[in-house]
Structures are given as structure tokens and as C-alpha cells.
Amino acid sequence: MDQRNNKLGWLFTSPYLIYAVIFFFGPLIWSFFLSITDWDLIAPTFNFVGFANFMDALQDSSVHAAFWNTYKFMMIFVPLVTVLAIGVAVLVHGLNRFKSLFLIGFFLPYLSSGVVSALIVKGLLSYTSPVNVSLRSVGLDINWLGSPFSALCVVGAILAWKFTGYYALIITSGLESIDKEVYEAAAIDGVKDSQRFWRITLPLLYPSLYTTLILAFGVTFGIFTEVYQLTGGGPGHATNTWQMEIFKQAFQNMQVGYASAVALLASVATFISIFVIRKILEMWGKRNGWV
């Protein structure tokens, strides 16, 4: 690449670089600075406290809960949304007409407000809602948001409902890119219909699946609105998340330094987890010969 093209390359990437400096690197440095102080951003003075905020956060039970709950949400949300998204994508892909219309329909929840969907679910799960009255009439009395496991499942299910359409869109584009001749060749080679999905579709869908899985794992580190509206992180700390904890510390307790330390710990946990997940997914692909 000659010198002139190199400059042009820098120029083209400059909007993102400026964006990254302003919105990522700047705040990251600022956040680290805050994390070693006891500042609340309001007081005219502050003290440097070293790594005390980090030490406190590492011993805080609500931070521990946020850490573990992320993986609990992962266990519920990722399989659920992946299965649903593949299901929707396969169904839509098989349609001869109105494919785009259905995809838009499934995509709509992604555009909906988390607050609104949480409030609707709150109404649906009310003690006196028709759903619960019907369940009680057959002897099922479920305290949906009052027990740790069901509260996790409810939040996980709302997220899955919201993201299914988005991921289905990615998977559908993956399905569309699979050449029909591959299926025809497989049919000639004697691959049965029941084997088609596992032997052909899934391996060729791997790049799209990889993307959606990484995105889905990432979502679990950023859960806030649904938890804030539905459970407030409870019962106890059962649905507390990193974002909830950062919000509570920064905006309710006005401990911005401590909240910054929690945010940085969350970043480290996210970075390591996503790195490990990526490696596992890559190993999975390589082991099966998909990449």
C-alpha cells in the first residue's frame, strides 16, 4: 500500500477513532481515575484512596451476586434465544411469500422499549391476572418474581423474546447464503432429510451462529432495564446485575468512585469471559471442521 492510500485509510477510519477516543478511551481513563478516589463528582474536594474501592467491591456480597448472576442469566438466556432464533429463521427461510414481513414482525420486539415490555410482563404476572388466577385454579401458585429461580427465568425469557427476532435476522441471512446446490449434492449422496440440518445447515451456518452467540453472551453483561423495572435486583440479590450494581452505587448511594471500581471489575470480567467464550466457540468450530 503506498503512502497516499495509507493516509486515506487513516482518514476513513478517523470518525470511528474520534468516536472511540471520546466515548471509550476517555471515559475509561476517567473511570480509572474516579475508581481510586472517594469523589462523588459533586464535592469540591476528594481523597485518593488507592485500591480501597476495588478491595471493598471484591468483598461486597451484592457485587458477588452480580458476578454470578451474569452466568446464571447466560445459562438461561443464551440457549433459549439461540434455539428460538434458529427456529424462527428456519421457519421463515422455508416460506415462499411474506418472508420479509414475518422477519420484520419478529424483529419488532427488539425495537420495543424495555420499560414498556417489563411493565406489561409485570401486569401479566400480577397475583390477580387471568394467567395466575387460571394457574391457581389448577393448583399452581407461582410467585414469579418472588423466588430467585423464577425471577431469573422471567427476566431471561423477556430478553429472549426481545432478541430472538434480531438474531433470527442474522441467522436467516446465513441460511440465505447457503447454496441450494449443496443440498442437492447431499441428496444425491444419500443424506436423509432428517440429517440435513445437522450435517449441512448447522456447519454452514457456523459463522452466523458464532456472531449471534457472541452477541447473546455479551447481552448478559449489560442487563439493566428489565431487572430495574421488574425486580430491582431482588429477591435478595437474586437478579442483581453488574449494571444494576453500578447504577445503585453511582446514582442512589452517590459513591461514584466505588461505582467506577465496580464498573472496571465488570469490564475485566466481561473481557475475560468473552475471550474464553470466543476460544471455546472457535475450538467447537475447528473440532467439527466447520472453520
Binding site: 470518525p15 474520534i18 463528582l41 409485570k122 397475583y127 414469579w144 430491582g232 446514582f251 448511594n253
Partner: protein, 444 residues
């Protein structure tokens, strides 16, 4: 031309992104937070509570004041709730775009702000004493004094929280008025459960099991203030809770649970729909009821009462929590703006009719000593009899603590004692001991 196009495009995109970062307040800050030297007009920013009624009230008064004083311009806007009004104020102060004055500030949040030197001690401003005297609020404002002896908040309203009872259901159970003591309430619960089983509960409210700090104001504190004759619970940095009263409150709640009288599950408008027959009621509720539940009529379908008390306490001496919020002036404003803001407030409260208008429009009892006796309010109380119990009990209401850690502290009350007792996870005495220990640790 071909080479220039991408360069131009890139520059436009980058500039567009940078301009999108602007809050658009730069220009406003320059003129809004300082007095204009040319016309000597002082502009003050007034942040009203995020509801249309209060915003309209302050806008009307601001216009009226501007008509009498052409040296002041008051911009009234609602506090943004992103995600809470407190967070918005905090962000605004940090971003150096705080208003001159705002309302809707509770005592605990004011303690946080004053701790960070973000507020002006109002008693240091010229004319503050005149406001207190002309508004007749010497007694009401007394408990608002902070530990350092200053007044940082001018309470606008002081709302003694009352309990609502479904009178129609009580009558079905053979009662003509709400029970006043713990054993009377338990008796009602037993009769209610015998008649309705799992269809009705005494106290149905999801917040009972929610540790969110402010929720304790509307359950634990109401009962505790009544049982302890208004004991302060936390004073400055000291835990001063009344163990006997506190344990009695928790035991009462535990007994209600044992009788299956509590429902802490998600339920929509339980009192209004009759799933619960007892709940905290603030005067702001009546406007909603008039629109959404017109069948709820004072002294027909519902009654209001002070919180129930332990059997050995005189119900006439019952105290309750004061849901009270007020005005603060921010230290980041210029001296001229601070004084102009106080002058505006002085003008507003020099006329009792402005408080009467507030009371009429918001249903929130103005924080004055003469609410029950001043002629300006008699017509409103006659027109809205459901507000009379609130006006009568202004002196029996205890404001929230002035500790800057109030969020942490009140979360502890829920997490260690109240919520656990509601769920039957801890015995009342053990809950009290665990809460006390955690509070003392947090206060250090």
C-alpha cells in the same frame, strides 16, 4: 473532485459526531447562570417536580413574579427522570449545569447534597427568616434543621402518611371504623381470612418484600413512628432506634404473615381492586382514584386513619412518617442568582393564597403551622374532606432522617429485618438485632 469527496464526507461525519456530543446548554449557561450586565436581568433556572401539575403551578407563579419584577427572569422546567430525578440532579451538578433552585428534594437527598457542599445554607441568605415568619412555619421547619445547625431545605409540603382501610369490607366483617391497635387489626385479619380465604388479604403490596430504600418510608417507618412516639431511629451518625417499639412492629408484621394476611407478590392496584383492605395512602392518590376508581368514596368505601399502635400505646398519640419535600438553592449558582431565587420564594410565600392554590391543585398539604386554622385553606378542606385528616396530622408527622447514607441505611432495614420478617425468614427479635448491628456498622 473524487479525492475531495471522501475527505469532505469524513470531516462532516466527524464534526457531526462532535456536535452531537454537545448538550446544547453551553450558550444557555453563559447567559442563564449569570446576570446580564446590559439589562441587569438575573436569569434563574427553576427545576420543578416531574409532574405537569407542579410544573404548571411554578410556571404560573414565575410569570406572575416576572410581571412584578422586570429584573428577574425565571425559566421553569421539569426535572428529568433519567432514570430518577435524583440522578438527574446529581448528573447536572457534576456537569456544571445545575439549576439555581429546585423543588422535590427529600431530606435524605438534601443531606447527601449538603454533605458534598452542593447546597446553599438557606439561613445564610438575606430574607430567609422572613419567609419562615410570613409563611407561619416556625414549628414545621424545626425538625428540618440539619446536624450542622443550618437549614438547607425549605419544605414545601409536609404530608403525614395515613393508612387507608376498605370501609366497605370492614363493614361486611362487622366493623364501622378502622381498627386502631395491633390486636384489633389481627382480629380483623382473622375474620377477613375466614370469610375470603386467598381472595383477600389485609395488606397486599409487592413493596413489602422489596429492599429498595425509599419503600421503607411507606411501611416500616409509618408503623415505627406510631409505635415509638416519633423516635428518630437514626440521629446524625448514631443509631437511636427504640428496640421495644421496633420489635413490636416486626412482631405485628410477623403475626399478620402467620395469619396469611400479607401478600407481597406482584399485584395490580390491590387496595383499589379490593385484594388488600389496608394500605398507605398519600393525598396524591385521590386524583388518580377520581379518574380511575371513581367508586372509591371517602367514608363510604374507604376510610383514613393514623397507623395502628401496639396495645399498650394510646391510639390518639399515634405518629406517622412525613412524606415531605422542599426547595433547595444550589451552591453552583452565582450570588445574584441565589438571592434572586430566595426573593422569588419570599414573594411566593408572602401570600397564603399561593399555598392554598398549591393545596388545591396538588392535594399536598403545605408545610405550615396554621393549615387547620388559616381561613385560606378552610374552603379547600370543606370541598375535599379526605384531605382534612392530613391537615390535622401535620404536627404528628416525623420527617425522614438527614443522614447522607440514608439509601444504604434504609436498604439495611429492609434486607436485614422488615423484608425477611414479611417473608417469614427471620424471627422479629433476631431481625431487629441483625438490622441494628448492620446499621451501626454502616454508620461508622
Amino acid at each position: 473532485m473524487k479525492k475531495k469527496t471522501p475527505i469532505l464526507l469524513t470531516t462532516v461525519v466527524a464534526l457531526g459526531m462532535l456536535s452531537a456530543c454537545s448538550t446544547g446548554q453551553g450558550g444557555q449557561n453563559q447567559t442563564g447562570n449569570s446576570s446580564s450586565s446590559a439589562g441587569k436581568v438575573t436569569t434563574i433556572e427553576f427545576w420543578a417536580a416531574p409532574n405537569p401539575t407542579q410544573q404548571a403551578y411554578w410556571q404560573e407563579l414565575a410569570k406572575a413574579y416576572e410581571a412584578t419584577n422586570d429584573k428577574v427572569k425565571i425559566n421553569v422546567s421539569a426535572i428529568k427522570e433519567s432514570p430518577t430525578s435524583e440522578a438527574s440532579i446529581q448528573s447536572a451538578i457534576a456537569a456544571k449545569s445545575a439549576p439555581t433552585i429546585s423543588e422535590n428534594i427529600n431530606r435524605g437527598f438534601a443531606a447527601q447534597l449538603s454533605n458534598s457542599q452542593a447546597l446553599v445554607p438557606l439561613d445564610t441568605l438575606e430574607g430567609f427568616d422572613n419567609v419562615i415568619q410570613s409563611r407561619n412555619m416556625t414549628q414545621t421547619i424545626e425538625p428540618w434543621k440539619f446536624a450542622d445547625g443550618h437549614q438547607y431545605v425549605l419544605p414545601i409540603y409536609s404530608n403525614p402518611m395515613l393508612f387507608g382501610w376498605r370501609l366497605d369490607v370492614l363493614k361486611e366483617l362487622g366493623y364501622n371504623e378502622p381498627p386502631k391497635t395491633y390486636s384489633e387489626v389481627l382480629e380483623v385479619t382473622k375474620k377477613l381470612k375466614a370469610k375470603y380465604g386467598d381472595k383477600k388479604f389485609l395488606w397486599a403490596k409487592p413493596d413489602l418484600a422489596d429492599p429498595t430504600a425509599w419503600k421503607r418510608w411507606f411501611d416500616f417507618y409509618m408503623l415505627y413512628d406510631a409505635a415509638s412516639n416519633g423516635n428518630k431511629f437514626i440521629e446524625g451518625d448514631q443509631f437511636t432506634g427504640d428496640e421495644k417499639a421496633g420489635t413490636e412492629v416486626l412482631t405485628f408484621v410477623d403475626n399478620l404473615r402467620k395469619e396469611n394476611g400479607l401478600l407481597s407478590r406482584q399485584v395490580t392496584d390491590p387496595f383499589e381492586n379490593g385484594t388488600g383492605i389496608f394500605t398507605d395512602v398519600g393525598p396524591w392518590t385521590f386524583t388518580t382514584w377520581a379518574e380511575k376508581y371513581p367508586e372509591l368514596k371517602f367514608n363510604e368505601t374507604y376510610a383514613l386513619s393514623m397507623p395502628p399502635v401496639p396495645d399498650d400505646v394510646d391510639p390518639a398519640q399515634s405518629k406517622t412518617f412525613a412524606d415531605t419535600k422542599g426547595l433547595v438553592i444550589y451552591a453552583s449558582a452565582t450570588k445574584e442568582q441565589q438571592q434572586a431565587a430566595l426573593d422569588f420564594i419570599k414573594w411566593v410565600y408572602s401570600d397564603a393564597n399561593n399555598d392554598a392554590k398549591w393545596f388545591e391543585q396538588t392535594n399536598l398539604p403545605p408545610a405550615r403551622d396554621d393549615l387547620s386554622t388559616n381561613e385560606s385553606f378552610k374552603a379547600i378542606l370543606g370541598e375535599k374532606p379526605q384531605l382534612k385528616p392530613y391537615a390535622d396530622n401535620v404536627p404528628n408527622a416525623v420527617p425522614p432522617m438527614d443522614n447522607s447514607k440514608y439509601n444504604d441505611l434504609q436498604t439495611i432495614i429492609g434486607e436485614q429485618a422488615f423484608n425477611k420478617v414479611v417473608k417469614g425468614e427471620i424471627a422479629p427479635a433476631e431481625g431487629w438485632a441483625a438490622m441494628k448491628s448492620a446499621l451501626e456498622k454502616a454508620l461508622k
